[in-house]
């Protein structure tokens, strides 16, 4: 038993070394993630600014669909996600590597493929204030999974203050205190934002990029 973790790792390694008629017995990604446990990614972290500069007119023409730039500063990762589909006001944005982000009028309502994902949200009351008067109080609900895959509900009690084109959302849930911020465009819609996406992932920066051209 001393070596249980090592034996586990070894047996994973051995499984991966096998070959056979069935290719789908193990997803190829597994090896990548084992490597990630041991080695740090050497590349400089992507940021919203870097990705914005990469979204040249040619690239955007190639994509041909609306995009968002999403960044998790705490995790030092960022991605461009592409419009995929819409269901009851929630847009599903996807990145080719298997990440999906759900938003409703600029409010993040879920994520998939990130790890420690936000499973679902209730944002309607917050949304009404942020895109309306910009002041008041509302409850925003987020659900996550715990280590046993059971739903954990985080009920954020928030109050709102407006400062020109930006709205601050200060929320509390027990010991947790978060400070979200929304930047609105001329039409009063959320153009970019900083929103809480869970204990592990921290804040999520979301930008609906505007291009001069």
């Amino acid at each position: 038993m001393i070596r249980l973790p090592f034996i586990l790792l070894l047996s994973i390694g051995l499984t991966l070394a096998a070959c056979g008629s069935e290719r789908n017995s193990l997803p190829g990604l597994a090896f990548g993630s084992i490597k990630n446990v041991f080695s740090r990614n050497k590349q400089p972290p992507l940021t919203t600014a870097v990705l914005r500069s990469r979204l040249t007119p040619e690239v955007r023409a190639q994509i041909g669909l609306p995009v968002l730039i999403v960044e998790l500063p705490k995790q030092k990762i960022a991605a461009v996600v592409i419009y995929n589909t819409e269901n009851r006001g929630h847009i599903t944005w996807v990145a080719p590597d298997g990440v999906a982000i759900y938003t409703k009028s600029g409010f993040v309502t879920g994520s998939r493929g990130v790890g420690y994902d936000l499973m679902s949200s209730f944002v309607d009351a917050s949304l009404a204030i942020v895109t309306g008067s910009g002041t008041g109080q509302a409850t925003r609900v987020q659900t996550y999974l715990d280590g046993e895959n059971q739903q954990v509900v985080v009920r954020l009690d928030c109050h709102y203050t407006r400062d020109g084109a930006s709205v601050y959302e200060s929320c509390k849930a027990g010991d947790l205190a978060v400070e979200n911020q929304y930047w609105l465009n001329k039409e009063g819609e959320v153009q970019s934002s900083r929103q809480w996406a869970g204990e592990r992932n921290g804040y999520m920066l979301i930008e609906s990029p505007i291009f001069a051209d």
């Binding site: 586990l8 070894l10 499984t15 789908n24 269901n87 998939r112 679902s120 280590g147």
Partner: protein, 695 residues
């Protein structure tokens, strides 16, 4: 002691849930003496400690928030008439009282309760934190914990029988020696621990362990009762410790902690699922597609392709104007609900808008395990609902899947199908005194031929490359038929070995019923025929199984021959998922040696697939005939590998730790036993995994 108690009364700081340090015995506490603290619920801690010729490896498991158990394998030099002693011991401890504002936490512990009792001792201990960093512990101990500076047992007031502690152990060991508990002299012990920084803890204690036996063998000199320790958290889950003990010795320990509730990546790194495709309401009544040529074939093809991307296999499908049924093989997700949820979303992508009802039937080993019926409207409504998990379960209908839809069209290329695999294998064994851990690596080739759903011919051949498993030379001293204890001869002779060659058939004899017949070389030591029938309603926490086997012992070389031993074995087994994270199994029947008796297995089951448990088998084999340990018992572990790698995969690491593997109460191993095949697709395990439906 007076100071300690004064401290307890003055204190006004309630206990905080904190990581606690481990003793040389691998239990929460000071240096050698226990404290009243408990590990976090579910934690599995392995501590290896060494000082003065004694090497202890202890596996501790926090069974419930209050109850914990430990299994220890120790080597002590010279104490066994000059020879080393190899000792296995089990502990149980229970926290009676939680730490409060004024009151300390109080725990009662029983160390080394089974067998020879080298480490046997009982204690009642109290722990109080003066500040979140500073904790005092004090207690009274018996047995080993009452051996230094002891006084006559205060329990002697109740009954003079408490005044003397019986020596030795019963018969061949291995049974609970409750007759010793709290008997003989008692002594006080205590100490303090100070968490100087978040990673560094300093400990000092007064030990009431006289180490009589070790000192008698001149292993060390006990010059002082005071011990000191330093505990450094190297990284989350790994602690290193250094000790100065008894005024003469230095020691060291390392502890690895693992909590099944804390996988490497909570929620997993699974790639995003297909989104739900929302229908245009006016299209729902459009049945024009039913007239298109090849419509069904094209839909099946698209479904199969998308499912393959998600690690699922479309086994069969039927498509009607408003209802579709799919049989799904899940090769990737530990949580069955996730396979169902992904299949459902794929169906919204591919099926014409008129199809409102989805019947999703998970399949394993060719048999339908359950049927989850979903309304497409609900999927559209709930995809982004904050209560998606609860509501989607409430609106799903989970039913038995014995009746086969006659319109099912099976996917091409699945039946018949030939598969093969060549790869390395790793095999380990534990607790041989000559080498407590043995391992072997080699090459394994396996192949299977699926004739039709449920009917499969499969075989595996192994050739070892390197290792020391086959070098074990201890000859079995068993006086009864050696049905298991010749394992080392099998290891030595079987190279190459046919570890399995069987024709297996899984089937559904009727509603709530599951059947299996397996014929051939079932495992390394036995061949024959094994048959099983299981009753398990989809929604029931109970199941009943019957198994009958006619077996012949295989030749040591594990090719095609048999030895001169035949036996009829069989069991009736009741399975019960007790809720609250516990699962039990009770069997009665006839075992490999022809002995008759029963097995009880109790497991803590975590909703993410981890299981940790223990079992014991009592049969009519005399304890004397059984030999050392008296009866068969062991610990069982099931570890899903996805909790380490984060990416979804169904592989599990399962192991049985038997302190002693002998010939009484032994059972044949057969691939594809029914309960294990179906359990994750039935309630309560299916609903327990429902949080991943939308994953």
């Amino acid at each position: 002691m007076r100071k300690i108690f004064a401290g307890l009364i003055l204190s006004a700081i309630p206990a905080l849930g904190m990581a606690q340090s481990h003793t040389t015995f691998g239990t929460p506490g000071l240096v050698e003496m226990p404290s009243a603290e408990s590990a976090p619920d579910g934690e599995i801690g392995t501590t290896v400690s060494y000082f003065a010729g004694g090497l202890r490896t202890t596996l501790s498991f926090q069974i419930t928030p209050r109850l914990s158990g430990s299994f220890r394998y120790a080597t002590i030099e010279r104490v066994f008439n000059g020879a080393p002693l190899y000792d296995r011991s089990f502990d149980l401890r229970y926290r009676i009282l939680d730490e409060g504002r004024y009151l300390p936490a109080v725990a009662v512990g029983f160390q080394d309760i089974i067998g020879t009792g080298i480490y046997a001792g009982e204690y009642v201990v109290a722990t109080k934190h003066l500040t979140p960093q500073l904790a005092f512990s004090g207690g009274i101990g018996w047995g080993r914990f009452g051996s230094f500076n002891g006084f006559s047992n205060p329990l002697g007031v109740l009954d003079s029988g408490f005044n003397t502690r019986p020596d030795g152990f019963t018969g061949t060991g291995g049974i609970v020696e409750a007759g010793r508990w709290f008997r003989g002299d008692a002594a006080f012990f205590g100490g303090v621990s100070w968490k100087a920084t978040p990673k560094l803890t300093l400990k000092a204690e007064y030990s009431s362990d006289a180490y009589t036996r070790e000192i008698g063998s001149a292993l060390f000199q006990r010059k002082s009762p005071y011990n000191f320790g330093i505990d450094y958290e190297l990284t989350k889950g790994v602690n290193l410790q250094g000790f100065y003990l008894y005024g003469s010795e230095v020691g060291a320990a390392v502890t690895f902690k693992l909590n099944p509730k804390e996988p490497n990546i909570v929620g997993g790194l699974d790639k995003a699922p297909q989104p739900v495709r929302v229908r245009v309401p006016s299209n729902a009544a459009d049945l024009g597609w039913t007239n298109l040529p090849n419509a069904a074939a094209n839909i099946r093809k698209a479904t199969s392709t998308m499912m393959e991307r998600d690690g699922l296999v479309l086994e069969a499908m039927s498509i009607k104007s408003t209802t579709a049924t799919v049989r799904v093989r899940n090769g990737r997700y530990t949580a069955s609900a996730q396979a169902v949820g992904r299949t459902a979303r794929i169906l919204t992508q591919v099926l014409p808008d008129s199809v409102e009802t989805f019947k999703i039937v998970p399949v394993a080993r060719g048999i339908a395990l359950s049927q989850v019926t979903l309304k497409r409207t609900d999927l559209e409504l709930l995809e982004h609902d904050v209560n998606q998990s609860k509501l989607s379960y409430q609106r799903a209908n989970i039913s038995d899947a014995a009746a086969r839809d006659s319109d099912l069209v099976f996917s091409k290329g699945l039946y018949p199908r030939f598969r093969w695999n060549i790869g390395p294998y790793l095999s380990t064994s534990y607790f041989d005194p000559d080498s407590p851990i043995r391992a072997e690596v080699g090459l394994e080739a396996s192949a299977s031929y699926n004739f039709s759903p449920g009917l499969v011919l499969s075989g595996t051949v192994r050739q070892r490359a390197v290792g020391n498993k086959h070098t074990a030379t201890r000859v079995s001293d068993s006086t009864i038929r050696r049905v298991r204890s010749d394992g080392n001869i099998y290891e030595r002779e079987g190279s190459p070995a046919i570890t399995e060659l069987t024709l297996g058939y899984h089937f559904r004899p009727g509603k709530n019923l599951y059947g299996r017949v397996t014929l051939g070389y079932l495992e390394r030591m036995y061949g024959g025929i094994s048959s099983e029938l299981l009753w398990k309603p989809v929604d029931s926490p109970f199941a009943l199984g019957a198994e009958i086997n006619y077996l012949k012992q295989r030749d040591f070389n594990q090719l095609f021959g048999f030895r001169d031993y035949e036996v009829l074995t069989g069991h009736l087994t009741a399975y019960w998922n007790m809720g609250n994270g516990f699962h039990s199994e009770a069997s009665v029947g006839r075992y490999l040696g022809g002995d008759v008796g029963g097995t009880l297995k109790l497991e803590r089951v975590f909703k993410n697939g981890w299981r940790v448990g223990a079992y014991a088998t009592l049969t009519d084999t005399d304890f004397d005939d059984f030999g050392e340990g008296s009866f068969d018992k062991g610990l069982v572990f099931t570890v899903p590998l996805d909790s380490f790698v984060g990416t979804p995969q169904r592989k599990v690491f399962s192991t049985v730790l038997q302190p002693l593997s002998r010939d009484g109460g032994a059972r044949v191993k057969v691939k594809g036993r029914l309960y294990e095949t179906i359990r994750s697709n039935h309630n309560p395990e299916l609903v327990d995994s429902w949080g991943r439906f939308w994953r």
